[in-house]
Each structure stands twice: as structure tokens, then as C-alpha cells.
Assembly symmetry: C2
Homo-oligomer: 313 residues x 2
């Protein structure tokens, strides 16, 4: 039995699909704060997925969900990076403290392996691009990034002290169907509210690495099968980048709307804590034989199409 925390969420539900496709039984643990039952609807009645509704801050709930589990995929987190500028304990609780509870529950129940969704946000404003796994010192500038680095540290400490095996995946910006947040999601909602204009936070020059959720969970599954180390740590991305300006253009193209005025609020970043430019070095991932199906721009177009259909315009 594989346990997926946040398994009803955006990336989590794609991972559940991938695990089930590999013939594995899956238990989902989710508080449904951003996860949705419809993301897992297609598994109903198959006997492959059972759902535990609970919160990771409830150590009793997560402990009882650990029974019989051979591996935890810990994806639950606050998905809204920008929220950290307003409510400062969200990432601490939903990130760092939730990870602590997962690890404690694993230790007590004897679960030997964890695969963790970390983030390129841990690198902060790196002065080396593309940024490799060996980059240091890592100095996240968002509270979300801090919670991911704090969680990585707890996981390596548990591995070092109590002997669990760990896979740490430092995600690029992951986009795809079932997205519940992020720039493409926001743009579509803005166009839905006002089809004549699209407001873009910052000057549109922000440029980041994107990866499709399908490729992301494919890479996670590949690395779990590939690595035998006590702790395996990889950047997950596509090796290229796409600007926010280009994303805005693609979303407008895919919307089919005519005469949309794209307007920039100005400034080099969307909000305090936003990293204007990220580019992940993914040579180590590609060196394992993994090949993503979509580059950044393709992943964005694929996502724009899927979300426009999900959200409706």
C-alpha cells in the first residue's frame, strides 16, 4: 500500500493515477482544503484507491492512516505561495509541522520510505542559472520555500537518525490539468471575469522552468525505481524556461478571445517573495534516462487548454 498525502490535490491526484497504472494500491490522505473529490472520481469502485479524510496536523489521524503502508508520497502543502506574505504561519503549519507529523507517524508505524515534493523555491534568488542540486548556500525568499527547505531538513535528519529511505524531488513550476492555483489558473479566472483585458503582476519578464504534472509524476516514479541511496535528491524540470509574458500570450491564444489587452502592473516580480527568474539544471535527472514529454512552453499550452475546458470561459 502506498500512501499519498495531498492525494486529492493537483499533483497528488496525478500521482495516484500513475501509481494505480503501475498496479499499486493507494491510500489517499487529504483534508480537501484544495484537493477535490472529482479529481479521484475515476478510481471509484475499482478497489485500488481508498480515501482518508483528515488533517496532517492531527497526528492521530495520520498515524492511523499509516497502517500497512510501505511508502509515503508526501505532497500535501499549502499550494498558494503568495499567501505567506499575509498569513505567516500557513506554510509553517501546512509545510514544516505537517512533514514532522508524517515522519513521526512513519517512525512509530515502521514505514521505511518517503518520497517528498520539494520545490525550486528553496534556491531563492540563486546567482547560478541553471541552478544545480549542488548549489549553495540555499536561501529561500518565500515562506513557502522556507517550509520546503525545513521539510527537506527534517526528512534527511530522520533518514540519518532513524534510517528511513528518502527521495527528495525539487520541482520546477508544475502545471497541468486539475491545477487549482498558479499563474495560468489566475489568468483564466481573470479573463472569465473580464474578457477584454488581462492584468499581469510585474513586468512580465519573470521567467521560470515549467513541467507538466504528467511528466512530474513520471519523473518521481522513475527516480523511485532508479535510486538505491539512503537519500536521493533531484531537480525535476524540463531544462528550459518560459516568461510570464509568453504565458499570458498563450493563455489568450488558447482562450479564443479577440482584442484582449494584456496589461502589466510593472516591477520585476509579482509580489514580495516571488523569485523573478528560476532555471533548474536537470542534467542529473536526464542522466538517469528520464525524458520529459513536454518542454516548458508545450506544458503551458497543454495546461491552458485543459484548464480553460475545466474552468470554462
Amino acid at each position: 500500500m502506498h500512501l499519498v498525502t495531498g492525494g486529492a490535490g493537483f499533483i497528488g491526484s496525478h500521482l495516484v493515477d500513475a501509481l494505480v497504472s503501475a498496479g499499486l494500491k493507494v491510500r489517499v490522505f487529504d483534508n480537501f482544503s484544495s484537493g477535490r473529490e472529482e479529481f479521484l472520481e475515476h478510481h471509484k469502485g475499482t478497489g485500488m484507491v481508498d480515501i482518508h479524510r483528515g488533517d496532517l496536523l492531527d497526528i492521530g489521524a495520520i498515524s492511523s492512516a499509516m497502517k500497512g503502508v510501505e511508502m509515503v508520497h508526501h505532497l500535501a502543502a499549502n499550494p498558494d505561495i503568495r499567501l505567506g506574505t499575509e498569513v505567516t504561519d500557513t506554510d509553517l503549519k501546512q509545510g514544516t509541522l505537517a512533514t514532522y507529523n508524517v515522519l513521526e507517524a512513519m517512525r512509530k508505524e515502521g514505514v521505511p520510505a518517503i518520497s517528498f515534493a520539494s520545490s525550486s523555491a528553496i534556491y531563492g534568488e540563486a546567482d547560478q542559472m541553471p541552478t544545480p542540486e549542488t548549489y549553495g548556500p540555499v536561501m529561500p525568499i518565500s515562506l513557502y520555500g522556507a517550509s520546503k527547505l525545513g521539510s527537506e531538513a527534517l526528512i534527511t535528519a530522520w533518514a540519518g537518525t532513524f534510517g528511513a529511505n528518502a527521495w527528495i524531488h525539487r520541482f520546477a513550476n508544475i502545471v497541468g490539468p486539475r491545477g487549482t492555483h498558479g499563474v495560468i489558473f489566475d489568468f483564466i479566472h481573470k479573463l472569465k471575469a473580464d474578457p477584454s483585458r488581462l492584468e499581469v503582476l510585474g513586468n512580465g519578464m519573470q521567467e521560470k522552468s515549467y513541467m507538466s504534472a504528467e511528466d512530474c509524476v513520471g519523473a518521481m516514479m522513475h527516480l523511485i525505481g532508479y535510486c538505491e541511496l539512503n537519500v536521493s535528491l533531484y531537480n525535476l524540470g524540463t531544462g528550459d524556461t518560459c516568461s510570464v509574458r509568453r504565458i499570458a500570450e498563450i493563455v489568450v491564444e488558447e482562450s479564443g478571445l479577440e482584442g484582449v489587452s494584456i496589461e502589466y502592473t510593472g516591477g520585476d516580480r509579482g509580489w514580495a517573495g516571488d523569485v523573478p527568474k528560476t532555471s533548474l539544471e536537470v542534467g542529473r535527472l536526464l542522466g538517469t534516462g528520464f525524458e520529459p514529454n513536454m518542454a516548458s512552453e508545450e506544458a503551458i499550452r497543454h495546461t491552458a487548454r485543459a484548464l480553460i475546458s475545466e474552468i470554462g470561459l
Copy 2:
């Protein structure tokens, strides 16, 4: 006014001495779990040091201690690294959560600067020695190291999101008078209990960088005056190492005891989560013009003498 959390503790009380010597007024915030009033006794009646007894987990207490503070020196932490193998939430609470409360209190009270006592424990078992600040990925193997890395991440996130200035000091093993824990302290207590033999955890080949507490606080003061960056991050150490075997010999020599049998429990480390070999690259620190007064072995002998006199044999 400078606030020192953990100011009644081992390194904290040395920092209070250094700040007062520089003519600065100091407020100490300490829960006296390992801090001691006698470490600050010599400041009584001078009007330079006032003491707030409180716990960092009490956000109200730390907030009220922030009034009128221009800089926080955050040194409070659980000093017993080994404890993490038994009680897994000590470092999370006394480390990561305490740091969060300090930062939140600073943000609310408008305190613009923090100097933080981090640790070489964040590097875990680095495969590059001596280990520079740019080493990555950092993978602590102790829960103490995880709490220090988690705290660093919170600090850089606060600096990036809310604009505080930060100094992060990654300490070697700091030793000196008023030590309340650590290998020299343990050895003296063991000799006090049984002057005929000294049990050493592990095979004695563990080898680490040591620095005297006096040099450590000197380096902190020097860097605060030297750096103007939003976040300054330096390794603090002496550039050399000393083995546990040599420490045992020095403590026995300084004890004046005759015929002590030094016995090793065996194995390459003292306990799970202990890093057998650490060596900090301190070229960046030395490049700022700072020169430590004592190398590792001198610092150890100095400490052995001071602690034998404090503890009594």
C-alpha cells in the same frame, strides 16, 4: 538596545559580555532551561544588562521583549544534539518554532536586524572537506541540524519577504568557559564520577572543527560590523580540526589524574545523528580580516582548564 535570546546560556552570555564591552545596552531573553544566572552575575548593578525571563514559545512574552530593540541576536536553542534521538519534538519546538516566533515578534515590532547562531550540523555528512558555505545539497542528519537549517530558511524568507537584514553564522563546535554540554563537559563529569577510567562514545576517531566561545562571539561582532548585505552567511571556525581521542587525552592531562584508562565503546560515531567528521572551510571569514586567537586544540585545552575549575574534580 540589543536583544540576546539565550543570553544566559553558554555562548549567549559570552556574547552579552562582548556587546557590553562594545558599549551596547543588552536585554537578555532566556527561559533558564540551560542558561544560568551566575553567567551574567558580573553585569549586576551596571545598568547595561536587563534580564527577561520567558520562553520563546510564548509569542506574547517575546513580543513584549522586542520593544525598543534595534537588533536581535538569536542564540536560544536546545543545546543537546543527542537528545533528538529520543525526544523528536525538542529541536522542532526550541529551534524552528522558536525562530518563527522571534521573526514574527520582530516583524510586528519593526525590529530590522537579526544575527543567528546556526551550525555546521546543517551540512550533515558532507563529501567535501573542508566544507565551504557554497556546499550543497545540505542534508543534516540530526534533528538539531534540521532545526538549524529550518531556522536559516525562515530567516532568509523573512529577509526576502519583509525586508529584515540577517547575519547567519554557521558555527563549528564551540567550546569554552561556562560550557553546559558537549564532549569536554561530559568527559569531566565522567572523570568526576570515576577518576580511574574515561569512557569515550565511538572509536575516538571522530574529528571536528572547534572554536573558542570568545573567538566565536568576536567573529559574530566582527561580521555584523563588516557586512552590509541583506543576508550575510559565514562559516565560523578555526580552519583546523581535533579528534575525540586527542580531546580525551587533553582532558585527562589537564585533570592531573594519574593512571586513567581511556576506553572506547567502538563504532565510527558517538550516536545516530552524530557526524563523525566535520571540517569547516573558513577562508571567507578570514578574508574579512578576522583572526581567531586559538586553534582547535588550544581552544579545547583552554576549555578543559576552565570547566575543570568550574565543575571541580
